[in-house]
């Protein structure tokens, strides 16, 4: 659909307003859905990430707290009043220089009393003011340029003199450890959210496509109407589309009615003009002189225009008719009866040949009558005694061939005879125009009229027309 749209000129072009709105309903829906999916996933992802980070931090802090507790547990004053550890902490990384895990026991001034081996020549500079009882957390730069998370508590050990200031027990760990733990999770979270987003977008696209299916059907139905394959949209439509379809159907009906009225008016006008034209023409032909001649010429011209537009108005109705199927044999029968009566004084015999009875024309009866009637009439005017009309199938087409045994027409004039409004022989009443109309009607049905020399000596007119399918 977008491709088709691109091919059409954008109606908004030239209007100064900038058109940034998506031009397709589907892309509008999909883009809107993608926007909210992306927003929802982003917010959800951030929330999950924050929750996880929180949990990991708490976990980290718990580990630090355990170490602080252990540190307090193993600390005591020796006989000389120095603070010592009664045994080493179980964590080996405290002994590894710059391992990222450190502890330190410091006095109120911040001077380190004891510290882990891993601190090597550094100290943790925890400058927070002393505060009894609570375990606190701080972040500060450590050795090796690392950022440390420090958990510390100020404690007064039982063996210390009661008025002695509390001692600060601190355990620190490199924040990078926290980050290392968060990064794979966040990465996995990002990937899964991305995948979920893509999946949802695809689902939305499919849903939109499915949801807009009726619109596509509307388009196909309209194309069918334009192509003459169906007359109305009708059928089973979703309740949202049904009013649109009903409106379109009414519009089409209204249009057809208007067209029909207009065509009828053209026809009525043309027919109404014929009697005055007959009167004028006859009056002119009864007088003599240049004025009468001028009137006569104008009457002839007017008559041609009337015939031309009348045949055009009729022909315009052609092709709009659906599923029309006209068996050829009855049409030929009717015309044969009529023409034999009209040409009774010329005693021309019309012989119908090769009819299998089933051959049918895909079109309206009136048009077929008009074509075969004009050709047969023409043949009867020129025939010496015999006119044949035969019907055949050829390459899925209907071929009606009309031969006469008259004088025929030189091959060089065949093309001209089919040309519009040319009268080859002014003495034969209305010959040229009849063939031109036949050619025009055949053309509207995608068929053609060809003239040739007849094996009977006269003219052969071969009419190729669309063949109607067998009725069900």
């Amino acid at each position: 659909m977008p491709g088709r749209r691109a091919a059409r000129p954008c109606r908004r072009r030239g209007i100064s307003q900038v058109n940034t709105r998506p031009r397709s309903l589907a892309s509008r829906l999909v883009i809107a859905a993608i926007l909210w999916i992306a927003a929802a996933l982003a917010i959800g992802g951030l929330l999950i990430s924050a929750l996880f980070r929180d949990s990991v931090e708490r976990n980290f802090d718990t580990r630090l707290t355990v170490h602080v507790d252990s540190l307090i547990a193993v600390s005591r004053y020796d006989d000389s009043g120095r603070l010592i550890l009664s045994r080493t902490l179980p964590e080996p990384r405290f002994d590894l220089p710059y391992s990222g895990w450190y502890w330190q026991i410091s006095d109120q001034r911040g001077a380190a009393l004891v510290r882990s081996r891993s601190l090597w020549d550094q100290t943790l500079d925890i400058s927070a003011p002393g505060e009894q009882g609570g375990m606190r957390t701080e972040e500060l730069p450590g050795p090796d340029g690392a950022m440390l998370r420090v958990r510390f508590i100020d404690v007064t050990l039982p063996e210390m003199p009661p008025d002695a200031p509390p001692v600060r027990f601190a355990v620190a760990a490199d924040r990078r450890e926290l980050k290392d733990e968060l990064r794979p999770f966040n990465l996995a979270l990002l990937w899964s959210m991305g995948a979920l987003g893509l999946g949802l977008a695809a689902a939305v696209a499919i849903q939109v496509r499915f949801g807009l299916q009726p619109l596509r059907r509307v388009r196909i139905a309209l194309a069918d109407i334009r192509g003459g394959r169906t007359e109305r949209m009708e059928g089973d439509w979703p309740s949202e589309v049904q009013p649109l379809v009903s409106e379109l159907d009414s519009l089409l009906e209204h249009n057809a009615a208007v067209l029909d009225r207009a065509r009828t008016h053209v026809g009525n006008l043309a027919h109404a003009l014929k009697t005055p034209l007959a009167v004028l023409g006859n009056e002119a032909s009864r007088s003599r002189g240049p004025r009468a001649d001028a009137i006569d010429r104008q009457v002839v011209t007017m008559r041609r225009w009337v015939d031309h537009y009348l045949s055009r108005a009729r022909a315009a109705a052609t092709g709009a008719v659906l599923g029309a199927r006209t068996p050829v044999a009855p049409v030929i029968g009717d015309l044969k009866r009529t023409l034999e009566r009209i040409h009774a004084d010329r005693s021309v015999e019309i012989v119908a040949q090769g009819e299998d009875g089933s051959a049918a024309f895909r079109g309206e009866r009136e048009d077929l009558e008009e074509m075969i009637g004009n050709l047969l009439d023409n043949a009867c005017k020129w025939a010496a005694s015999r006119v044949t009309v035969s019907t055949a199938h050829k390459d899925g087409q209907l071929v009606v061939t009309i031969d006469d045994d008259g004088a025929g027409l030189p091959a060089s004039q065949h093309g001209e005879a089919i040309g519009r409004g040319r009268r080859l022989d002014e003495t034969s009443p209305g010959s040229g125009l009849g063939l031109a109309i036949v050619s025009e009607i055949a053309g509207l049905y995608g068929g053609e009229l060809q003239l040739d020399e007849s094996p009977m000596g006269g003219l052969r007119a071969e009419l190729t027309l669309p063949l109607a399918a067998e009725p069900d």
Binding site: A270, H271, A272, K274, T275, P276, L277, A278, V279, G281, N282, E283, S285, R286, V299, R303, R314, D334, L335, R337, T338, R341, I342, A344, D345, S347, R365, E366, E369, E370, I372, G373, N374, P429
Partner: protein, 224 residues
């Protein structure tokens, strides 16, 4: 020959009547469908020129009613509707010919001549009866190849007798066919014209059937 012209356009009706009278026909004109039907049913016309679009009753219906009622006079349909479906319908309703408007009066005359001739069972436009030859196209009459000058009335009487070759025609019948409705019937007129024709064409040209009327016969059929 007496014709009925049924045409609702007064100008065209007048034009047709004038042209047909000039051509030697007795012509009745009506513009109304009901009147046309009545006239066709009651008057002995030799041909009818019938327009289809008429007030009150349309031409096709009139034609069908005439045919159902056993009226057999030749009818030429004159109409603006020139589709073949219209022509087929017209012929099937009982018309003998179909002429689409606009048309030339000459063409209408030619068609009518042919129609009347056909009804009389004559194949050629030139009717030969013994030494007398009548060309219906040009209204020219010869006797033994020599042109004979006839007045309009004389020609009409001769043509009517010739078209009804072998048939005995009463004076009343002849008057009905040779004069239109408005003519005041005087049976002696026919006798006068028959006498003049006999003088110009020879006494044997028109036979008197005592008590019945007149007829023309070919010499070879005279015994019948």
């Amino acid at each position: 020959m007496r014709l009925l012209v049924v045409e609702d356009d007064p100008d065209l009706a007048g034009q047709l009547a004038e042209a047909l009278r000039e051509a030697g026909y007795a012509v009745d004109v009506t513009r109304d469908g009901e009147e046309a039907e009545f006239l066709g049913d009651t008057e002995p016309y030799d041909a009818v020129v019938l327009d289809l679009g008429l007030p009150n009753v349309d031409g096709m219906t009139i034609l069908e009613r005439w045919r159902e009622g056993g009226r057999t006079m030749p009818v030429l349909i004159l109409t603006a509707r020139d589709r073949w479906s219209d022509k087929v319908a017209g012929i099937d309703a009982g018309a003998d010919d179909y002429l689409a408007k606009p048309f030339r009066v000459e063409e209408l005359l030619a068609r009518l001549r042919a129609l009347i001739r056909r009804t009389g069972g004559l194949a050629s436009p030139v009717i030969e009866i013994g030494p007398v030859s009548i060309d219906t196209r040009s209204s020219r009459v010869t006797r033994d190849g020599t042109p004979v000058k006839l007045t309009g009335q004389e020609y009409r009487l001769l043509a009517y007798l010739a078209h009804n070759l072998g048939k005995v025609l009463s004076r009343t019948e002849l008057t009905e066919h040779l004069y239109d409705q408005d003519f005041d019937l005087d049976s002696n007129t026919i006798e006068v014209f028959v006498g003049r024709l006999r003088r110009k064409l020879g006494a044997e040209a028109i036979e008197t059937v005592r008590g019945l009327g007149y007829r023309m016969v070919r010499p070879e059929d005279a015994d019948l």
